[in-house]
Amino acid sequence: MRKLFDFHGGVHPAQHKAESATLPIATAPLPTRLIVPMHQHIGNRAKPIVSVGERVLKGQMIGQADGYISCAVHAPTSGTVSAIEMATVPHPSGLPDLCIRIEPDGEEQWVERTPLDYTTMNPSELRNRLRDLGLAGMGGAVFPSHAKLNPGRRANVPTLILNGAECEPWITCDDLLMRERADQIVAGGKIMQHMLGASEVLIGIEDNKPEAIQAMRAACAGTDFEVIVAPTKYPSGGAKQLTKILTGKEPPAGGRSTEIGVQVFNVATVYTLARAVLHGEPVISRVITVTGNVERPHNFEALIGTPVRELVALAGTPRADTQGYIMGGPMMGFNLPSDQAPLIKATNCLIATSPKLFPAPPPALPCIRCTLCAQACPVDLQPQELYWFSRAKEFGKAQEYDLFDCIECGCCDYVCPSNIPLVQYYRFAKSEIWAREREKDKADVARDRHEFRDYRIEREKKERADKLAAKTQGPKTPAPGQPAADSKQAAIQAAIDRAKLKRAGVEPKNVADLPPEKLQEIREIEARRAQLKQAMEKPSDTL
């Protein structure tokens, strides 16, 4: 029996999992139209590569990954692109984003699917294919998976964790997926194990999912995978928390879990990876829990881009007292701005809310420093202090008290007797700090530009004086007043050289883990940039 570790804090909210976990996963019928957002993942928005009126096939790439941290988007079914437009997407801001609208033709005609031979493929090529198949974390963070499957400078990542904890109340999609498709998850785990060179594969599942545990254990028979049952406690499904539970190690703050030799993937991601590699299928559908104030809470396998309204209608006629829909769980999810918003890769759950199920909290009272929040915080922060600093806009202090280690799990909100929406304060503080940093960057750029402008004016003045001198006194005689200009020029040049040296001394740190071909690309860009810069800074050579 493996020794399990505990993390500080955590809460035990009412689970509400039984409602949706009784029925098997149903396949949602083809919706009347599909709205596919281009920005479903963390990183750069995908670039549309189809045009309005074009016929697309099921699984055809319609949005291309833009950069390394980005991933592709595909047509969920065959049909016609009817619009490429800004439309409502599932985001708490309610701001529209670029989407491709597809009118399905009902034929479900697939593109050619080619399984990938992952054992013989070049690892970098394999990762690029995964990016082009739209693989991103399905647990909610939607980080592009190919980037996480890169062992980087390390030869390998010894521990691979498959996250089946599913600790948020109400959600059962991972539970059902593990019950019904355990073999595919194990197959996906093997591919990941190969890609990371992992020596152990641990599957963490909370003890409130006995059927999933049994199914996963059966599927793991004959492999070296280990299914580990963790006690039910929110947020044990947080990647960092699960890592701590299973290995006793804490992923470094602000760093990656690979630094301690661990990588974590949600089981739904592992499943989509198996579909992608073994069947050549891009991510065009997912399993989603539809629950809450609906007649028949249920899990559906639905196409990405299905409007929320059509999806919830599958769980029965909407009830009159339904107020709205939470995407995700009640701890970390958010209220959808509209039921027109589509299902995206991150949508693991839709909860129809009613005043009865989710009563509005009473008005907030002042913080009484009871520290129930600190006792519940899984990161061992002092939420009451962070609240105070965020509220007083003492952002420096908030950062000093590790605001950016907050995972926004909502445990503090859950226990607060004063009903203070603490996480909202932290989000506000974080976004203010980011905004200020952006302002500072802008100011820095403006200052650089201003300095260069001064330098250019000075240079042009000197050039004019030189020309004038050459005209009036012949080429050999130095102009009067030249030495003064020269010394000024020399001082400017010296300052520029110093700045250059300083800049050269600062190594960019974010490229450390990139594959060699990326580094080569970066080097080429840098060389071109250096050439350009040289041309700009030494104009006398070109004149």
Binding site: I260, M331, L365, P366, E385, S418, P421
Partner: protein, 341 residues
């Protein structure tokens, strides 16, 4: 933002604190007469009135703040800390000072630096020392008994029934007796058999202390308070008392005496644990509690006042920001030398 919440609210927290005080109040009334009930009612009415007036002056919503119950807790704790058989204005002024000055002038619920009940108590102790040392004698030792109507007449009119003297109703507290007798040069072993003393502490009072302990255990079980402050508080007090008692038993009272008398248990479980004015980090709570325990021993043994809970708590209230700042726990993932494979 979480859409769900456990059912805790400020009022439920405060109600549980009041509930935890019930057994001690009952025993108090049983052994020392109905004066304590009068005192609690007086303090509560004054506190609610003052709270409502201050909320109105500060243009804050009255209903949610009145219902939070924090004023009632302050009133109740104050009544239990003050001598009950005293003129009505003593507890009224103390309560007014606690609610108006110590609480609302410092910003109201959640913002006050000092424990309001202890501010009220300390102000009265300094201003009216004579009244503040008039403690009722335990029933079993009393030469006269006051009925409820007699108690009311005394508290509001200062009249005692004909032929009854105040001396017959009040007596120095065990802590006071010990202090004065020690000063007279008598050894502790001769003092503690005196009638005012019970098995380990004051007669009757030690049972109240036991009831406070029971209330405290209930609060711990309900997770209203954490163990850190009471344990550090009582352990430090007991340890110091034990050390000195072992050194010279004739001059220094036994540790169980210190734990069972005065405000030790009330202070440890109900007063030092006030969340608003106490330390918040686990380590900070230990330091906070331990320092209070130590200060109480110092004040009781060498200071000018018979008990030191109020002053010890107020002094440590001042140190809370400093304690908290230096005792921040290690945040998840902030590890210096974790094994890197």
């Amino acid at each position: 933002m979480a859409y769900v919440s456990n059912s805790a609210s400020v009022s439920s927290v405060m109600l549980k604190v009041l509930f935890a005080l019930l057994p001690a109040t009952a025993i108090y009334q049983l052994y020392f007469g109905p004066a304590i009930l009068v005192s609690i009612v007086l303090a509560s009415v004054t506190a609610i009135g003052a709270e409502a007036a201050m909320l109105r002056l500060r243009k804050l919503p009255i209903k949610p703040f009145l219902l939070d119950g924090s004023a009632l807790v302050t009133a109740w704790l104050l009544a239990l800390s003050m001598p009950p058989l005293a003129p009505w204005w003593l507890i009224v002024i103390a309560t007014l000072f606690a609610i108006v000055v110590a609480k609302h002038l410092y910003g109201g619920l959640g913002n006050n630096l000092f424990n309001p009940a202890m501010v009220g108590y300390a102000v009265m102790l300094i201003s009216f020392p004579a009244h503040m040392t008039q403690w009722p004698v335990v029933d079993t030792l009393a030469h006269a008994h006051l009925s409820l109507s007699g108690t009311l007449r005394f508290i509001f009119g200062g009249e005692l029934p004909a032929g009854m003297k105040l001396d017959a109703l009040t007596l120095a507290t065990p802590l006071d007796t010990l202090r004065t007798q020690l000063l007279l040069g008598r050894p502790a072993s001769e003092i503690t058999p005196m009638p005012v003393f019970g098995y380990v502490g004051g007669k009757g009072a030690e049972l109240i202390a036991l009831a406070y302990l029971a209330g405290g255990v209930y609060l711990l079980q309900q997770r209203i308070i954490t163990w850190h402050i009471p344990v550090a508080f009582l352990a430090t007090l007991a340890l110091l008392a034990f050390g000195f008692h072992a050194y010279d038993a004739a001059r220094y009272a036994a540790p169980w005496f210190h734990l069972a008398t005065g405000g030790a248990l009330l202070g440890a479980f109900f007063i030092a644990t006030d969340p608003v004015t106490g330390a918040t980090t686990p380590k900070g709570k230990l330091i906070f509690g331990a320092a209070i325990g130590a200060l109480i021993y110092l004040i009781r043994t060498w200071g000018g006042y018979p008990d030191g809970v109020a002053f010890a708590v107020l002094i440590l209230n001042m140190c809370v920001p400093l304690i908290d700042a230096y005792t921040q726990p290690r945040v998840f993932g902030h590890v210096k030398d974790q094994d890197k494979p």
